[in-house]
Symmetry: C3
Subunit: 324 residues, 3 copies
């Protein structure tokens, strides 16, 4: 990392990756996130902390749910929100990415939320902004999706307590998944008891990942697990999978369903980052059933984003006092 | 209807169709709408009732004016507004409709405004949301467009008083028009004196609609009418109409113009739901002339949407107190 | 001009063109703009003047930065903002431009911000709106971009003081540039010492423009200049330029770079309206270097738009009192 995610005062400035955040720093974010939770059916959490400030959502990759989550997080903190959905082709035609950032920065946008299909883009932006400006990674290629990792950790902790005693299985296209990557970073940092990466051989990590075991077979992978997280599988993958030519076969081999879950712990929970392919990586009845914490993940995700936005705002405030 | 539009306390919860709303309930909405009217040129009506709450506009069918009307209605009630313009193809690729709803619901969106080209979609959503959540139909296939029916009734009442004494003619593609459908539901519920459905034979209702008469000829249809409402005709229809091959012939046969209006009552008003094809279903001079109440329809429509949003919010509040 | 830009009380009502605004009127806008400036890193300027009012951004031509600038300007004045990005094809299919305006006006939109590829469109709208409604031109064909002209003048004045003593060079595709047009109108009105239009012969004005000199050669054009403004060149132009077949040759002949700038005044500043083609009309190092005031132009632009919005709102207020 060229730019540090924390400022000189130890305050969170950028959120690009969970890899070099300390456990203490992550706990601070999750504590704040818990503060931004109200029960479904009650008025949403609300704060005036970002009133008068501007958050820009720069989504260079299509997204409905993550964009909506960041947009509502910023609005519920009373920020002005600028949504820019810029597709790659228009970016190619138009000005360079950094010039877009410089322009918005000159409009006094102090916080950027960036999703991009290219590895390194959020860090590249963070390397070039003014000292008071913050950059939040809302999904970066196959590499990183830190707010997803945080919401996954938060959801597991709320249901199962200390992850040190848990066996967690992540099932699906591990190799191409920023969700798996960020969840792994979060869970290993908190000393997860056992972390299993489960999927077809071609979709498991090429290199072993420290603190994890790989399983190419579903039942062995989820046996005795406390937490089972299914990943979204892209339709395009089936062409690359020798013996799994279609969604039906994928479901037969790696799809989660209540029957398959019998081999996990009796009180095991089921997670999915969404959007789900029902009947492919997960059975609809399981997704809607009592084991599922999928909707709680969404609620926790919004709280995590409010927490991160409100924390980096403290950096903005501090740095402001120091600038010439 | 599987889900009731009113809750157990008789409060409006959903607005899917006018068909099973009572006259009293409709009067309540229109009273509220009249409260949300200020003269053009004065500051728009404003209320803080939805402050801190989130309204999601889910438009699966393109729309400029209805989306703008609902968006401004929600903003003028101080809500946070989330706009999601999702086209059909991306919906097919992505997650299912209900999963999108579940996700947004988990983000504490309490009111959904839905436009969809498929019949039954708003009701299907209403069948699946949490008890405190409301669903408003912003246009459903050929079936229903209840806020349009309400704004049409409101506009007629404001100009002509009790509809029991009136002759109303709706002119155009009756068969495929959710506008005609909802206006008919509203007007017959209020005991309209006479309701005439006027258009080419192929575009009249297949089955007779209770309380209406059909006319395949314009002059007979609007003779003596107090109110004449033109409908938008889709260009695609001309291929299906035997003896009306083009817009010019349609205008000659069914287009409204000041000369044709001589056969209606001298003080007859002219309506159109917009967007207009000037020179096809209506002459520009008539649309801009003294008989036209077309812009008032737009103003009343925004007031109706503010009224409906503020009424269903009372349901949200009541249900909230009752939930575990 | 059919409609006057000032109302009977001398207040700014529309901003369509700088051509017939007086120097006093422009000074009034720039004074107000200076009031809406806070240092980068401090909270953005903020005012509640437009609270409860609605500004519609109608962009019939794609734009990221100008739309963002107007959107943030309106939001920082506490307005409700309605963004309508309407492309030409949907406009052709849908309702007429004026019907869209009438509809939004009936929704109590009091200020329209319009960008359109057609000459005369903003004025045509201004000709048809209610007396209390204002129309702001956000870019009109090759003809006019008045807020850009104002921000350029403001930026030059802040760095160089009275333009009466200055030599300003505008470099690039003068002939097709609304930026050059509006900057020329602003600068000549303020009695600029010398205004040079510099570019390939085919891209210089067909008719001489009063108060300017044309130069078909870069070095002669920027020699001794206090201010050098590069314009964006469209890739499509190269096909029309006899001896400049590609971007490389354009840069060699008319591209600004630190070495070329040696011939200008030692303290000459460099401007660009954005988005930049780095390496074509301007070298990246120059754009990012100490001479560059490009990001200040963006900041000043937002302040100019806040100023114009707040000034026309005074017209809305005044006219409101007078209406029946």
């Amino acid at each position: 990392m060229t730019v540090e995610q924390l400022n000189d005062h130890g305050q969170l400035r950028h959120l690009i990756s969970l890899a070099d955040l300390s456990r203490t720093e992550i706990e601070k974010i999750l504590d704040r996130a818990n503060h931004y939770l109200t029960p479904i059916g009650q008025p949403p959490p609300r704060d005036t902390i970002l009133q008068g400030h501007t958050v820009a959502n720069l989504f260079f990759e299509a997204s409905t749910r993550t964009r909506a989550s960041f947009e509502l997080a910023a609005k519920r903190l009373s920020a002005d929100v600028l949504n820019l959905d810029v597709n790659m082709s228009s970016r190619a035609k138009g000005e360079s990415l950094l010039d877009t950032i410089y322009t918005l920065q000159a409009m006094q946008v102090d916080i950027f939320v960036v999703r991009d299909a290219g590895t390194g883009v959020p860090m590249r932006i963070a390397d070039h902004v003014f000292p008071h400006v913050s950059v939040l990674n809302a999904g970066e290629s196959d590499t990183s999706h830190p707010t997803q990792g945080l919401l996954d950790l938060m959801t597991i902790q709320k249901h199962k307590g200390d992850v040190g005693n848990l066996c967690v299985a992540i099932v699906g296209d591990i190799r191409h998944s920023r969700v798996a990557r960020s969840a792994t970073e979060a869970l290993t940092k908190f000393g997860v008891g056992e972390l299993r990466l489960v999927g077809p051989q071609e979709l498991l990590p090429k290199e072993p990942i420290e603190g994890t075991q790989s399983y190419a077979e579903l039942d062995r992978g989820i046996e005795g697990a406390d937490v089972v997280m299914a990943l979204r599988i892209q339709k395009e993958r089936f062409a690359q999978l020798g013996d799994i030519p279609d969604p039906q076969e994928y479901f037969r081999r790696f799809g989660l369903a209540e029957e398959r879950m019998q081999i996990a712990k009796p009180d095991a929970i089921v997670m999915h980052p969404g959007p789900m392919n029902r009947g492919v990586e997960i059975d609809g009845a399981l997704a809607d059933g009592p084991r599922s914490v999928i909707q709680e993940q969404v609620t926790n995700g919004l709280a995590v984003r409010m927490a991160v936005l409100s924390l980096v705002y403290e950096h903005v405030l501090t740095t402001r006092g120091e600038q010439c």
